[in-house]
Structure formats: structure tokens, C-alpha cells
Amino acid sequence: MGWTQHTVGTQNIRAMSIIQLLLGNMGIAGGGINALRGESNVQGSTDHGLLFHILPGYLKVPPASLSTLKLYNEKYTPTTKEASSLNWWKNYPKYSASLLRAFYGMNTNLEEAYSYLPKIDDGVNYSWLALFDQMYKGKIQGFFAWGMNPAVSGANAGKVRQSLARLDWMVNVNLFDNETGSFWRGPGMDPEKIKTEVFMLPCAASLEKEGSITNSSRLMQWRFKAVSPPGKAKPDGEIMTDLFYRINDRYEKQGGPLKEAITKMTWNYGPKGADGRIRYLDIHAVAKEINGSFLEDKTIEDKGVKKEFKKGDPVPSFAFLQDDGSTSSGNWLYCNSYADKGNMAARRGTKDASGIGLYSEWAWSWPVNRRIIYNGASVDPTGRPWDVKHPVILWDGAKWTGDVPDGVGDPGSGRPPFIMKPEGVASIFGPGLTDGPFPEHYEPLEGPLEKNLLSHQLTNPVIKRWDKAGVGTEMDKVASCDSRFPFVCTTYRVSEHWQTGVLTRWQPWLVEMQPAMFVEIGSEIAREKGIKNGETVVVKSVRGELDAVAIVTSRFKPFKIDGKTVHQVGIPWHYGWVTTATRKYAANDKKPELFTSGDAANLLTPTIGDANTMIPESKAFMVNVVRKEVR
């Protein structure tokens, strides 16, 4: 994921994808681009629409200009001139209709259901950096920080913390108090002057509830509950149910814009009482809704065979989803995960019939338990595996064996393997990205070089410059090629801490091993600056500064760039002031058994994102490291 945290992040990934394509490494055993994500359920979170621009199953969030479902489907359903191409996204209207049915059931028709969906303004970006920029500018009144700790995780965290002070209210849903929930009493804050009302909703940890996570192999694994959550903590689903009913009541009583968007929503996640509300949350009902079911009796012809389905039957796989409103599915990619064979994600079969480690009976992966996507590319047009020693799919004369074949057709069918692309083939030339069809080298926004040594364009020309007048705020400072900040800085993780440390900084065994914010510096800088190993130093950028223990190491070597020596330093990002010994603890504050020291690395990082995704450039920016007394 480090590749993505650059202003050229998308093009970094494309460059690697192109290389793997040219090497013929797609769809084969041991091939592909296998992202190491920052969190075990990142795949699951984007699959299910965590990001502002996608709905579950990578359907698009509708812009305001697409006023009807018909227009929406027309816009996003690709066509192809290639007769042999499967063009899988041609099924888009089936998936959008089934998703709307999952939201609203038969409470309304599809067009009306579509009208309830929140729309984004055309061309406006609602990602993280934009969100906190708007918050800083007072355009956002309320905020749910749900399982997140933006006061530590957000780029330019100093700005994030100030943004939170401009809110009327904030709900912090987390396991422990954190730098976000307690931002108003953090370093440099005056509680008297902050109006934000903060609510803490304690929630259950992953081991305290049942559910699933999906990893980067698209493997959906069911997790069982080990222990009950402590005190008043509840699983997220229960908190959401509670909120839903309260918000629903408020709309019923007082009305409001798009009232029906809430009041007509289905909430069939458990057995219902006399009041029509669920008595308790059954997380399996959520999983079943994600899979999808038939809303009426239906006969569907599949490969020449007529299949009868009854109202209420689970949809066996997404090939059976319909665009006429007769099926529901909360996420078409997950259709087949909880069907006639039950909860596939809970399977724990350890057989590996494939011989290449697919373990196809362990849990379930989307789509339709296919373990290697684009595996049609692992065979030549006659059906012979390119790698005969490690076949992913193999034609036995009558059918494919091995992995679930990926839309490849019978050998000799002439069907190209990249079925999600309209043309059926992978694209080395990739139009549609803001910064062009081919990857190009640009320097980070903040860097040590005045010139791009490979072209006349220094930085990515289409990034949004928050530091420009009238765009961001006075806090979005940038200092490139500035002698005050001579060192390149990068951020990373340690294995002892998890994300913003909200869970791990309270664990004595983990804190014992990694107790403090540190900065790794090369021995050359240490000599030059008179910094001793283990000494607490100050790391500062134009946006902020923090204390860190210097680890002087030979692992950081200076770069020689165009005859110039450039030093790099590195910092982990998990720390925060809440678990330190030096803060004030109120009488009812939980004190950690072991203290950490130091605050968030993101106090230093710039407000700048990738040109396509807005993922912040946390991997390259400029800092200085000084001894404490020369601060």
C-alpha cells in the first residue's frame, strides 16, 4: 500500500500492472499484483462501499445529474464492438436493481428507490482530504468517527484536529477513548473555546462479535465470537440498528428532506416483535441479505435448463440476478456466499485438490469462490496451461477442472480472458485516468529536487493543490526545496502496533516492545547534527513538529541524486498523546498500564493526494531533525 501513498500512486500501481502483464503473469499460479494492505478488512470495506464514490460491488455512487435509474444504468453499462468479448459489466442494471431491492425491498419501485440514493455533486470530490477541508471551513456540522481515529490517521493531522473543533457534534465509535474523541483537550487545545459536543459510543472488538472479513485475496472468512464485549460496548451492527430506529422515529414524527430514504428502508436483520422491529440483531441475516434472495417466484433458464425459484429462496450466484426487481442482493460480488449451501465463509476445509495451494474449501472468495481471477489468462487459446507444471485450470476433454474458470469459455471459443473489460483484453494503454494513459515519473509535491531529471514537469500536473490561494486553508502549507527542511521523510509501521494504535497502545506487552515514537536516521545525519542514538529529538515539517527517539542506523543510506547528497529519515505513525504519561488524566480517565511517548506522525504530513484517488502522499515529504535544545 506504500505505493499508493504518493501523488503518482495510481500510476505506480499501473506501472507494476503493466510489467506483470508484459511478463504474462496475470491469472497464473504465483502471478498477479498482490497488494499488502494496511488492515485485514480493507478489501471488504471497499467491496461494501466504504469509499465516497462507490456503492457495494463497485457500482458507482450516482451524481446529481443522473436523475433516473435509467440514465444511471445507461451511463455505467459498457457496450462492446468485440463480438467474442463477454463484457461482464453489461449486467450492471441487474446489480444496481438488486442492490436497490436490498435497501428498500418491495417497499417502493426501483425508480423511486433510486431517487432516494444520496447523490454527489458532479465533479466534486468527497474523499478524506476534502472532507476535513470542508470541516475546517465550517461546512460540516456533525461527524461520525466510526472505528477511525483521524486525529492520528489523517494527513496533516494538525489541520484535522482543528477541523474537529469547528463541528457542532461528533460521535466517536471506538473501543477506547482516542485522540479524536478527546481532541478538545489535546496538545494546544483550549477546552473552554471548543463548542463541539462529543459522544462516545463504546463498541465491540472483532473478537467480541460475529461477522466476516475479506482479505486481499478476496477471501471472505467468517469469524466467530470469542468473548462478550465489556460494559456497555456493543457490536457495530447493534449500534447502527439502534441509531436507525431512532432516526426513523425522528423522520416519522418531524418529517424532513428525503424522509422516505430512511422510512422506506428495510431492516430485516432478526426476528421481529409486535412493533415490527427486530428484537435482536442476527448478523447472519445481514450476510444473507448481502448474498441476495428472490422476491417473487421466478423461472430462469440457465445453460438450456429451466430452474424454478420460490419467493424467499437465496440467489445461488450473480448469474441469476435480475434487472426487473425480482431479486435482491446487497452486493452482487458476494452472491453465492450464503446461498443453498449455507454460510460458505464459515467453511474450514483443508483439502487442496488443486496442488497449487488454492484450498478451495477454506472459506469462500468472490466471485463464486474463484481463487485466482482472470485465470482464463493462464491457458493459451487452445486451452493448454502456459505453465503446465502449475495449472490453475485444466480442460479434461469435457470440462474445466481446478479453479472456478473465469469466463473463459470452452477451449478454442476465442473468448478473451479479461471479462471485466469491454474489449476482453487487458489495457497497457489506459485512458480515463486524470494524469494520462501511461505512467510518468513526477517528483513528490514536497521534495529535495528543483528539477525533474526525466522531464520538464516537476510534479504531477493534475493534483489538487490545497496550498494554492483560495483552495485549501492557511494550514495547508508546503515547503519544497526549503533549506529549513532538508531531509526526505517517509512513514511506516511496526509489527507491534496496529493502525493508529487505538487498540495496541493499551496493550502492555506490545508497549513494552515499542514504547515510543521514534525517528530512524542515518549515521551521517547523526554525526553532522551531533545526535546520539537513543536521544529524544524534534522532527519538524512546515506543518508541525513532534518529539521522537532517534534510532541512528546504517539501514538509512543517503541517496546520490544528480550529484547531490539527499538524506532520508523514517517514522512510524501509530503513536498519539492519549496514552502518554505527560498528559493530564481526569479522575475517571482510564490510564494505560504502560505509557507510550510521542504524538502522531501525521502532524508532519502534507495535505496532498494522488491525482486520481486522493490518497495522501504520506510516503514522501520534507522535514528537519534537530536536537531538543536547538528547537
Binding site: P515, K532, G534, V549, I551, T553, E593, F595
Partner: protein, 265 residues
């Protein structure tokens, strides 16, 4: 006798320290407030509450190439164990699996083992006036479970099995790695029940003695002089023996009863 061995293949260690935490968790060893002293290694050394840990070391090989070495350290479970030899109370003893266990109830806090161990493993706990060290998770291995550290290791750097298999695995792996790789542990103190596969020259690793031996003074005293002195002090010994017969090793009997119950559950 069926002997077991733990194999530490440092070439597969990523320094994640899952072993270090798993040990603390299984053995319920508390954490202590630490500081970052300019290294990932923490606590600085083994302590009464830290029986195994990963040592982080930056070193150069003979080509000058920088290596960041991770080495899990802890009790080596010697066949000819200095600590058992010097222990006056029988607290340190050989198990029938070949490992060296510690009956804390019997420890008298004399610290003889602390100075005798060639690997500097046993640590003295002043508050309890006892020593502490790894017992290779005796409570687990007696129940056919692997030691907690081995169970936690995500990369296969730690393996556990019968001595012969582990020796074979170790030598095969060293051969596979080639270069300076070697097996450390089976050629001294009559063989240890913890083996290393070291990727670099063994001399590079800090804290690993090249020729660990039972100190000569211990051999002279315990193997030669002590048996003579015991004959001389026979009446005292008889008294101790009588005490043992009458009162028995109370706590260890209770332990073994508990063990049986848990084992059958």
C-alpha cells in the same frame, strides 16, 4: 528416552516478536515500562519477566554488506547443563524430554545458575528471591502441544519436534542456505535442545558464545569433589532424605495432579 528439540531458523525470522508476546501470554509474565533506547530491541535483555525475546543487531558481513539480524534468544536446554549442576536445591532439573525445567518452589535464590550459565539465561528476580527462565513450555509440551513461541511464529522460523528430526531439518536447511550458514547447538554441552540455523558466520551474532562450556570450576566441584563431600556428610544427607520421604515434594505433587486433570479434559 524421547528427546524433543526446538529449532530456530534465523533466516526465516522477520523480527515480528510474536514469540516474545506469546511467551508472556502463556506464562502470564507481566510487562514492565520500557524506554526506546535507540533500538527496536526491548526490553534490553532477558529478565525475570521476559524468558524469550528477539535480539536486533546491525552487522556487516565479510563483503561489507549490511545485515539486520534478528535472533530469538532464550534457554538452550543443554544436555550437560551448568545450571542443573550448580543448583543446590534441585529446583533446576532435567525433564524426561531432555529439557531443563525449573521448580520455582524449590529455588532458594542462590543465583549459582545465573553465573554458571554460559548463555547468561537465568535471571534473578530480587522481589521474589528466585530465578526465572524458559522451561520450553513444559506445561504445553507434556500435553503434546508445541511451545507458545513456536505456535505463534507466522513464518516457520520456529519449529518443534523430536531431536533427530530437528537435527536433520537443521542440517538440511543450513545446506540449502549455503554460504556461511551453520547449525549451532549440537556440538557442545553434549548438545542443546534448542538449535539455531544461523545464516551468517556464527561469530557475528552478539551474545552467542562460540564455544560454550560448563565452567571448569563447576566440573571440578560438582563432578569430582562434591560426591566425596557427600559421602563425608552422609548423615546430613540421610536426614534430608528422611524429610523428603515424610513430607514429600508437596507442591510438585499438587502440580502433577492438576496437570492430570487438565490433560484429561
Amino acid at each position: 528416552m524421547f528427546e524433543i528439540t526446538k529449532l530456530i531458523d534465523v533466516s526465516k525470522c522477520t523480527g515480528c516478536r510474536g514469540c516474545q508476546v506469546a511467551c508472556k501470554q502463556w506464562n502470564q509474565l507481566p510487562a514492565k515500562q520500557t524506554l526506546n533506547r535507540g533500538t527496536y530491541q526491548n526490553p534490553p535483555d532477558l529478565e525475570p519477566n521476559t524468558w524469550t525475546m528477539v535480539m536486533f543487531q546491525e552487522a556487516s558481513d565479510e563483503t561489507g554488506a549490511l545485515k539486520w539480524l534478528f535472533r530469538k534468544t532464550g534457554c538452550m536446554h543443554c544436555t550437560d547443563a551448568s545450571c542443573v549442576k550448580v543448583c543446590p536445591s534441585g529446583a533446576l532439573y532435567y525433564t524426561n524430554l531432555g529439557t531443563v525445567a525449573l521448580n520455582r518452589e524449590r529455588c532458594v535464590g542462590c543465583k549459582e545458575c545465573v553465573s554458571a550459565c554460559p548463555f547468561e539465561i537465568p535471571k534473578y528476580d530480587g522481589a521474589a528471591d528466585k530465578v526465572a527462565k524458559c522451561d520450553l513450555c513444559l506445561s504445553r509440551i507434556e500435553r503434546d502441544m508445541t511451545p507458545a513461541c513456536v505456535k505463534a511464529c507466522p513464518t516457520g522460523a520456529l519449529q518443534f519436534g523430536d531431536k533427530e528430526t530437528m537435527l536433520q531439518t537443521a542440517y538440511r536447511r543450513a545446506q540449502e542456505l549455503g554460504g556461511n550458514a551453520s547449525v549451532y547447538g549440537d556440538k557442545f554441552v553434549k548438545g542443546t535442545h534448542v538449535l539455531y540455523v544461523l545464516q551468517e558466520k556464527s561469530a557475528i551474532y552478539a551474545g552467542l558464545p562460540l564455544k560454550p562450556t560448563v565452567p571448569l570450576a563447576i566440573i571440578v566441584w560438582k563432578d569430582l569433589l562434591k560426591p566425596l563431600s557427600l559421602i563425608a556428610g552422609g548423615s546430613m544427607l540421610a536426614g534430608t532424605f528422611l524429610h523428603y520421604i515424610l513430607r514429600g515434594p508437596k507442591t510438585s505433587d499438587e502440580d502433577s495432579d492438576t496437570n492430570k486433570r487438565e490433560g484429561g479434559a
